[in-house]
């Protein structure tokens, strides 16, 4: 298989939190070959994080209102004060765990396009990881869909990659600029075939 080599553009992505990064700097993956270059790194659009971010905001401010209310004598739980303080600490600890799990879930669920293949890394919950990949020369069809006002407004959608092997289908879910992703993958396929 011929390897396509591209010069990294001057605007190579350096933001480690980017959901759409062309030629991302300092990114490597477990099964990367020495001559393999990461062309595109994708995560789900940041808008998919809004529900848990809003929940986190309310979880963070709730104890503040409680402590203020207690301070001004409006209300108080029927618990000793040190136990109430422990309750607040435990609350923030749980909120922290909630944020960490959701962030890791978003950050490490990545889609990678290299100059040789596409890779979908999924991890579910705490301990289950699934990596699916397909060579560019095995890809038969690349399409995208962005149904819904929310997705059109924020410009994100699903990219569907159909390979020659019928059972392998890689879906890049809720990624930013799906039409751009399709264009980049199609261009790589044409160059490699």
């Amino acid at each position: 298989m011929e390897t396509v080599v591209f010069e990294p553009p001057k605007d190579a992505a350096t933001n480690a939190l980017a959901a759409f990064a062309r030629h991302p700097a300092d990114v490597f993956f477990e099964t990367q070959n020495p001559d393999e270059e990461v062309m595109l790194l994708l995560r789900q659009h940041w808008a998919v994080n809004l529900p848990w971010l809003v929940l986190t905001f309310f979880a963070a401010v709730f104890p503040v209102f409680y402590l203020l209310g207690r301070g001004y004598g409006y209300f108080s739980l029927p618990l000793p004060e040190n136990m109430q303080n422990l309750f607040v600490m435990a609350w923030y600890l749980l909120a922290c765990g909630f944020v960490i799990e959701n962030f890791l879930n978003w950050y490490f669920n990545v889609y990678i396009v290299t100059n040789r293949r596409v890779i979908d890394v999924d991890f579910y919950g705490l301990l289950y990881k699934k990596v699916t990949e397909a060579s560019l020369d095995k890809i038969q069809e690349v399409s995208y869909k962005d149904p819904g006002l929310w997705r059109i407004f924020f410009d994100f959608g699903d990219v569907l990659i159909q390979t020659a092997a019928a059972q392998v289908e890689i879906d890049f879910l809720s990624v930013p600029k799906p039409q751009e992703v399709v264009r980049i993958i199609s261009s790589l396929i044409h160059k490699i075939k």
């Binding site: 480690a16 477990e30 890791l104 990545v110």
Partner: protein, 83 residues
């Protein structure tokens, strides 16, 4: 009803209140102990995921997961000794 009843009632009230707080504290301690296990799994998880996908943020994420583990241990100790 005898002359000792009010004292017994008072003693029983103190005893039940202490039992209640002891039960609440026990739940806190058990819950926080389970949380420490969760935090330790997160540390391991970040380490494994960083090996799968390495980025410039990976060292910071590892550090943050360790701080989270340390915080969970401190809250656990606070539940045992300060409450």
């Amino acid at each position: 009803m005898n002359q000792f009843s009010p004292y017994l009632e008072k003693l029983f009230a103190v005893f039940s209140q202490n039992t209640l707080w002891a039960t609440v504290k026990a739940f806190f301690v058990i819950g926080l102990f389970l949380y420490i296990i969760f935090a330790a799994i997160v540390v391991r998880q970040v380490s494994l995921l960083s090996a799968t996908i390495g980025t410039s943020l990976s060292p910071k994420l590892k550090l943050f997961s360790l701080i989270h583990l340390l915080a969970s241990v401190l809250v656990f100790l606070a539940a045992i000794f300060l409450v």
